[in-house]
């Protein structure tokens, strides 16, 4: 167990070269990982690999003050953090076209190559299994949005329950009509909610059939997605490289059918399979979920 050195001494004028890890790949037979694209990572340093027993970590050097804690300090600046997270993503994004990459969560920093190789060795079995789960596939994000006013209008015309009440409306007294209109509104909201839930289930089902797995993501509030309609589902799908075209066409086809009812979709990707690489290795909560 290593102990982090606390440095409240302030004698930190000399920086230390550390090794930042982006992701993990499997080495080809006899390969040395040198087929990586010639790109730079955090702070502009070139990426390279650190190999161990058939696996390799995609890394680059990162100069930091003498303790790791200072790296966390540096990230308290949102602008700095954002810039480094984008660097992290760009490295992964440009390496997933040619190979399967197990993405590492932002912020994995090691003292040197040796300790990276040790981590690969120590968690070899978990990493190999995690790589197998995402082998030959990439992640695509799918969001479902719904414009409830369009859906309600649509439902008010096709729902038998609502149509029946509307039939009563023409012959109703003022007081009764008020009551009936409120019932129509309430029924409309309930039916809209029900239809949205059904729709999400059915789309998820179709997407799962065209992919290797699904992972739910957090719904984003309007302030984050910036749209006028409402996000009703946010998910990630693990899609085989060969099936990507089929998958994307499927989403187009679903939109064609469901857009008139107020539904819309957004696709993002391809992503490194972040949502299907949820493993904690070497920490207190060691272990991988099997992705189900």
């Amino acid at each position: 167990m290593m102990q982090l050195e606390s440095d409240e001494t302030g004698h930190m004028s000399v920086g230390v070269q550390r090794v930042y890890v982006y992701g993990i790949i499997r080495l080809e037979e006899g390969g040395d990982g040198s087929s990586l694209p010639p790109i730079s990572g955090l702070a502009g340093n070139p990426i390279r690999t650190v190999a161990s027993n058939g696996l390799a970590a995609i890394v680059s050097a990162l100069a930091t003050p003498a303790t790791g804690l200072r790296f966390e300090e540096e990230l308290k600046s949102p602008e700095r953090a954002r810039s480094l997270i984008l660097d992290h993503h760009h490295v992964l994004r440009r390496t997933i076209d040619d190979r399967t990459v197990l993405p590492v969560r932002f912020g994995a920093l090691f003292p040197d190559d040796m300790s990276v190789a040790d981590a690969l060795g120590e968690h070899h079995r978990d990493l190999v299994e995690a790589l197998e789960r995402v082998d030959g596939a990439r992640e695509w994000g799918v969001k479902i949005f719904c414009d409830r006013s369009v859906l309600s209008r649509h439902l008010s015309e096709e729902s038998p329950a609502i149509c029946a009440i509307r039939g009563e409306l023409s012959a109703a007294t003022d007081g009764r009509a008020f009551f009936l209109r409120r019932r129509i509104a309430r029924l409309g909201e309930e039916e809209a909610q029900h239809v949205i839930e059904q729709h999400v289930d059915s789309v998820k089902h179709s997407l799962c059939a065209a992919s290797r797995g699904e992972s739910a993501m957090k719904l984003q509030p309007a302030a984050v997605h910036g749209r006028a309609d409402e996000m009703v589902w946010n998910g990630a799908l693990l899609v085989d490289r060969q099936a990507e075209r089929h998958f994307l066409t499927l989403v187009d086809d679903l939109l064609e059918v469901h857009a008139p009812r107020g539904f819309d979709y957004e696709i993002t990707g391809p992503w490194p399979p972040f949502s299907f690489a949820d493993c904690r290795l070497g920490g207190r909560e060691n272990g991988c979920s099997n992705g189900t």
Binding site: E72, A81, P103, G107, A108
Partner: protein
């Protein structure tokens, strides 16, 4: 009818944060950011994202890098 797609430099920062800071293999090195540290970064950046009126795009932040991708056409 085509679904709106965001590729590469058009991806929203919020979608990236939900992945790069919340998902992926957690690999512990001597200097790896603690999970609590990552959570703090996440919260800080989500506040930033939510303060924008429109989605933040990578394009604006990585204009120089984006030119490296593809053939520039």
């Amino acid at each position: 009818m085509a679904v709106r797609m965001a590729h590469d430099d058009e991806l929203a920062l919020s979608d990236l944060l939900d992945r790069a800071l919340n998902k992926g293999v957690v690999l512990w090195g001597e200097a790896t950011i603690s999970l609590a540290g990552v959570d703090l970064i996440y919260v800080g950046l989500r506040v930033l994202v939510a303060s924008y009126t429109t989605m933040e795009k990578f394009r604006a932040l990585n204009r120089s890098e984006a030119s490296l991708e593809g053939d520039g056409g």
